[in-house]
């Protein structure tokens, strides 16, 4: 035996003593945390991830801006008034409320200026000499809404004037109390639109993060690092760490998008009631968690069958197809949330995360339907984790060709 004298030999003995004290076997939780931590720290420095996230945020902002420009002017009516008084302004605003539009009265000094403003579309219409015998309404093109609004305002003004002249003291009529059996369908439409946008985000993120999980699994197999990893932990530690780590990142991302979206939508008045946007957003996030757990596990198990990134497509395509089909049905469900297709598919695990939020937002899902969909989805997740975990454990150390599901399930270490 050769002996090589090194000056380090005494130092290393001390090292050994020291580390023996500081090192102890990590618990399962610690191992899962370590794996999850590595996934997160690797991903947040990955250019592809950063670009993907930025694109999603830009998309959401773009949708907001689009909504804002589409909505602008729709619920607001600017009316130029020449020669009016406070009573005219009040009457116009009151009439506007009845028409569901915010009326802003812009006083103008002469008719020519008001006419120019109408032509430049600075105002929606101009009312000339409202108190005179022959009031005139200038519009860019004939619009029944504006005409009846102004006509109504002037009629009520004139009626009040005539009654007061005749000595009649007007008493306000009794206030009608509103009881809605079915909440305003207008609100439902807004909530549904929010849910559809949410489902688009949910779908994109599940595709993105499911893909990350699958690529990560294959990377560990193709680089053979998996053998070294499995000498320190069980396959399920690795699987759980990977799925949870990337899942937390996905959740953080959907939460960030939700906050940006909700705050933006409320700030820009895209939606009127916070409930219309917050309700569907919370539902979508909850379904994202379930959908991600399902697809991430399926993708991980499928990916463990192959050893090269090139082969990944062939094994994850079936699951991706289900995801795409669910997405298309989810979008379709916005049009007929009570239809048979939407009703049935919103219960099917794997499809439900993209259909149910839309139906819930549209107010078409009965509580028991949501309950059944949730239970079925949770059951499916349990089954997928159990079988997927076995496939993953069985296939992980079989490098080389493509492993079949049957082989993986039968595989003994």
């Amino acid at each position: 035996m050769t002996t090589i004298q090194t000056p380090q030999s005494t130092a290393t003995t001390e090292d050994a003593v020291r580390t023996a004290e500081t090192t102890r076997p990590p618990s399962s939780g610690a191992l899962v945390r370590l794996v999850a931590g590595r996934e997160i720290s690797t991903r947040v420095r990955d250019k592809g991830f950063l670009i993907g996230s930025a694109v999603l945020v830009v998309l959401i902002l773009g949708m907001l801006v689009f909504q804002v420009t589409m909505n602008s002017g729709g619920d607001e009516t600017d009316i130029a008034v020449v020669g009016g008084d406070a009573a005219v302004e009040q009457a116009l605003i009151a009439q506007g409320e009845a028409f569901g539009t915010d009326v802003t009265v812009v006083p103008f000094d002469d008719e020519a200026a008001a006419r120019a403003a109408v032509e430049d579309e600075d105002v929606d219409g101009a009312l000339i000499d409202p108190s005179g015998a022959q009031p005139q309404l200038l519009l860019e093109t004939e619009a029944a809404g504006a005409q009846s609004l102004v006509q109504g305002a002037l009629t009520s003004l004139s009626t009040a004037q005539q009654l007061s002249d005749a000595g009649v003291q007007l008493q306000p009529g009794p206030q009608v109390q509103l009881v809605t059996l079915d909440p305003d369908p207008e609100d439902r439409v807004q909530a549904t639109v929010v849910a559809v946008v949410g489902v688009i985000v949910l779908y994109s993120l599940i595709i993105l993060f499911g893909q990350f999980v699958a690529q990560g699994v294959v990377e560990e197999k193709s680089s053979r690092v998996v053998e070294l990893l499995l000498s320190t932990m069980r396959p399920w530690h690795l699987l759980a760490g990977k799925v949870i780590g990337l899942g937390l990142l996905g959740l953080a991302q959907i939460l960030a998008i939700a906050v940006i979206g909700v705050v933006g939508a409320l700030a820009f008045d895209v939606v009127e009631l916070p409930g219309d946007v917050i309700g569907p957003v919370v539902t979508v996030i909850a379904w994202f968690v379930l959908g991600y757990a399902f697809y991430a596990s399926v993708f991980a198990a499928a990916a463990s069958l192959v050893s090269r990134q090139e082969d990944l497509g062939s094994v994850i395509t079936p699951a991706s197809m289900l995801l795409v089909v669910g997405f298309l049905i989810g979008i379709q469900a916005a049009l007929s949330p009570g239809g048979t297709l939407a009703r049935v598919t919103s219960l099917i695990p794997g499809v439900s995360p993209m259909v149910m939020p839309v139906r819930q937002a549209a107010g078409e899902a009965a509580w028991w339907e949501v309950g059944v969909a949730l239970v079925l989805m949770l059951l499916a997740i349990a089954v997928v984790i159990r079988i997927g975990g076995r496939v993953y454990s069985g296939a992980l150390l079989r490098t080389g060709g493509k492993v079949s599901y049957r082989e993986a399930l039968r595989a003994e270490r």
Binding site: T2, T6, T12, T42
Partner: protein, 302 residues
């Protein structure tokens, strides 16, 4: 003691291991030899929990090796594997933590080992940007970074240049001095002979020879004597009792002495022919021992 006890393993009809047993003492360097496909890798993978034996077990300090014990074992798989896009330093720290080191200690150990194996300047490089030789060093560092109690290395020397071999050998000897039992497999028998205190030869699914190289030599069937007698004619030793002539080559004679044969009688016969320039027991090299052990159908376990 690291004990491999009666390991059996079959893959389908292929009986890979048929009762592999050997023991490695603390501080001992154990060379694990065998032909391709003899089952060396399977034996090591069983120790690391990557394959389940059909029978038998591996024990460390009398206790069956389980997940907790395994985290105190440094392992180098035959198929090298590291995260290609992860930086060297971070990767080493990650493996240290998987073996149970705290965050700060792991970072420190990663820096120390990168430095010790000459990777100090490459710590912030992704592994895939390193040369193969340097990747091999990172692989070794990953096995050593947690200051393990046991080292199991599958073909650690393959693919290294002579300088790399020397620095790896020095690193392993240092671990032995720390009291760590080191098991490594290798095809480079000269290296095994030079480094190892003990050797195990695996053939046809079981250990056909094990012990120190000296023990293997003394137990080798048929001891050979080399006698150089320049003046003798061929056939001078033909009639000596218990002696079989292996070869004559212009006076350079190799004899195999059977049980009870007297070497002094051979010497006397040699002197009778004239000058004797060489008279010595021939030490079989490990390569010869290996060939013998692997080719003999009957087991000659020591």
């Amino acid at each position: 003691m690291l004990e491999f006890d009666g390991l059996h393993k079959a893959y389908g009809d292929n009986q890979v291991l048929k009762g592999v047993s050997f023991t490695v003492a603390p501080g001992q360097m154990f060379g694990f030899c065998g032909s391709n496909g003899a089952g060396k890798t399977t034996t090591m993978r069983i120790a690391m929990g990557l394959a389940r034996p059909d029978a038998g077990e591996v024990r460390w300090q009398g206790r069956p090796v389980d997940d907790d014990v395994r985290r105190r074992i440094g392992y180098m798989p035959e198929e090298r594997g590291l995260y290609p896009k992860m930086k060297v330093g971070e990767q080493l720290a990650y493996f240290a933590r998987l073996h149970g080191m705290g965050g700060a200690a792991a970072t420190r150990a990663a820096a120390t080992w990168a430095e010790r194996l000459g990777l100090g300047e490459r710590r912030n490089d992704a592994v895939e940007r390193l040369s193969l030789g340097n990747q091999q060093r990172v692989q070794l560092a990953a096995a050593l970074v947690s200051e393990p109690d046991v080292l199991i290395l599958d073909e650690p020397f393959s693919g290294l240049d002579p300088v790399g071999v020397d620095s790896l050998a020095a690193a392993l000897l240092e671990q032995c001095r720390r009291g760590v039992p080191v098991v490594f497999s290798s095809h480079q028998l000269d290296l095994v002979e030079r480094l190892c205190d003990a050797v195990g030869i695996l053939a046809r699914g079981s250990i056909v020879a094990s012990g120190t190289v000296t023990e293997l030599r003394s137990s080798a069937a048929g001891r050979q004597l080399r006698v150089v007698v320049p003046d003798a004619s061929d056939g001078w030793a033909d009639l000596l009792p218990g002696v079989r002539v292996v070869s004559y080559q212009r006076g350079d004679t190799v004899l195999e002495l059977g049980f009870g044969a007297d070497d002094q009688q051979v010497l006397a016969a040699a002197l009778a022919t004239g000058r004797v320039t060489h008279f010595a027991w021939r030490e079989p090299t490990l390569v010869e021992l290996f060939r013998d052990a692997v080719s003999t159908p009957s087991a000659v376990a020591a």
